[in-house]
């Protein structure tokens, strides 16, 4: 026990030393980053709209909405920070950091300190979001880099990633990096104040919160997307999308229009009355004569083959009758 106290206190002293050169939080830097992020998503949205890619446009619009929310939040933080600049900042001490380390041992499942690698690791208890069991996570603070933008990693102890990507163990973690979202400024502030205990508490709460509007993979797709026609689970990267109703489909249930070749679900195609091939709502046209639906190749100047044939027969009969009358009159 005494050894642990000594180890913890030495680690606390090391962390304090790393903190001594930490920059003060710069809310306007974060604000600039958010503005640039919004501009990037706006440009992509304009591009997707211009190219008439409705699915890409919808996804980009969702991302832009998320980025604008973060911009609004950061603007609010910047205003709050300006109000608080007149107040004195918290000055960390080795004792306060030591007490943080002590408290972490009660708050989390496991705490490990590696002074050689200058790394402090805590393990959360198991995390379940919307009935999807993600397991427990380790949060690694690399205190050597505590002055950097993101001095910590998040790894899954027993990963349960989605079908589409092994590098996403959590909706907001990719390649061991947590996208902090609305916790970003609080994390920066906690680290710059040397409030190590608070830092880990904030990160844990981000891991325990699901933001459906901005996830690397949504929890509804965690075990694959559901085909609209057959109900089978499909890898999201292999799923097709109906061009008309935008429902997701497996490869087998996806049908190509015989005219435009776009992909559709079974509800959005109908067979051509002439050739029987599947044709989409946009490409099927009515015969001007009989009113049945046909694909483009089966219509000739708006008339189907059968009606054209009937018209020709009727015309031929009429001509034959006319000739017969003329012959009778001559006689």
């Amino acid at each position: 026990m005494n050894n642990q106290i000594k180890m913890d206190y030495r680690a606390a002293a090391d962390i304090l030393q790393s903190l001594s050169g930490v920059r003060q939080s710069q809310p306007f830097t974060a604000l600039d980053e958010s503005v640039m992020q919004c501009r990037r998503w706006q440009q992509r949205l304009e591009s997707a709209t211009r190219r008439n890619w409705p699915t890409a446009a919808k996804d980009t619009a969702d991302r832009l909405r998320g980025a604008l929310d973060i911009l609004r939040m950061r603007a609010s933080h910047a205003i709050d920070d300006l109000h608080r600049r007149s107040q004195s900042r918290l000055v960390p001490t080795a004792t306060s950091i030591y007490r943080d380390l002590e408290a972490l041992r009660s708050e989390f499942e496991g705490v490990a300190i590696d002074r050689a690698k200058q790394k402090l690791t805590v393990q959360t208890s198991s995390i379940t979001l919307e009935d999807v069991q993600l397991g427990s996570f380790e949060i690694h603070l690399n205190w050597k880099y505590i002055q950097e933008t993101s001095p910590f990693d998040v790894t899954a102890v027993d990963p349960h990633p989605p079908a589409s990507s092994a590098s996403i163990p959590h909706p907001h973690v990719r390649d061991d990096s947590l996208c902090e979202g609305e916790g970003s400024d609080a994390i920066r502030r906690a680290l710059s104040d040397g409030r190590i205990y608070d830092f880990f508490c904030i990160v844990e709460q981000i891991l325990r919160t699901y933001n459906a509007g901005s996830a690397y993979v949504s929890l509804s797709d965690w075990d694959g997307v559901t085909c609209h026609d057959c109900g089978q689970s499909v890898d999201p990267d292999e799923a097709r999308c109906c061009y008309k109703c935008e429902q997701e489909l497996c490869e087998e249930c996806s049908t190509s229009c015989c005219d435009c070749s776009d992909s559709y679900c079974s509800d959005c195609v109908s067979p051509c009355h002439g050739c029987g091939d599947d044709c989409c709502y946009y490409c099927l046209k009515s015969c001007d004569d009989c009113g049945e639906k046909f694909c483009h190749p089966c219509l000739n100047e708006g008339i189907c083959d059968d009606c054209t044939h009937q018209q020709n027969e009727a015309k031929a009969e009429a001509e034959a009758e006319q000739q017969a009358e003329q012959s009778s009159a001559a006689v």
Binding site: P27, R63, A78, A103, E182, Y197, C201, I202
Partner: protein
């Protein structure tokens, strides 16, 4: 009495505040965090779990961390 008040909400802050003797955790929450539900926050006094009716003492460290903090992608 003087208490170290820490909020890990929004941009986060930590500073000392004056409070009347006998102030409870609940009163501190309502005065400084606002009209939100206290059970939506992780509340710690001196880094230990605390009850809403716990009386604060001079030099205490009180922290409020939202349970719901949304990450992103």
């Amino acid at each position: 009495m003087q208490v170290l008040l820490i909020s890990n909400d929004a941009g986060g802050y930590a500073h000392h505040v004056e409070a009347p003797d006998g102030t409870t955790v609940q009163q501190m929450f309502e005065r400084h965090i606002g009209p939100y539900k206290a059970d939506s926050y992780l509340i710690r006094v001196n880094r230990q779990p605390a009850t809403a009716d716990q009386h604060l003492r001079d030099g205490d460290r009180v922290s409020f961390t939202p349970l719901k903090i949304e990450g992103a992608a």
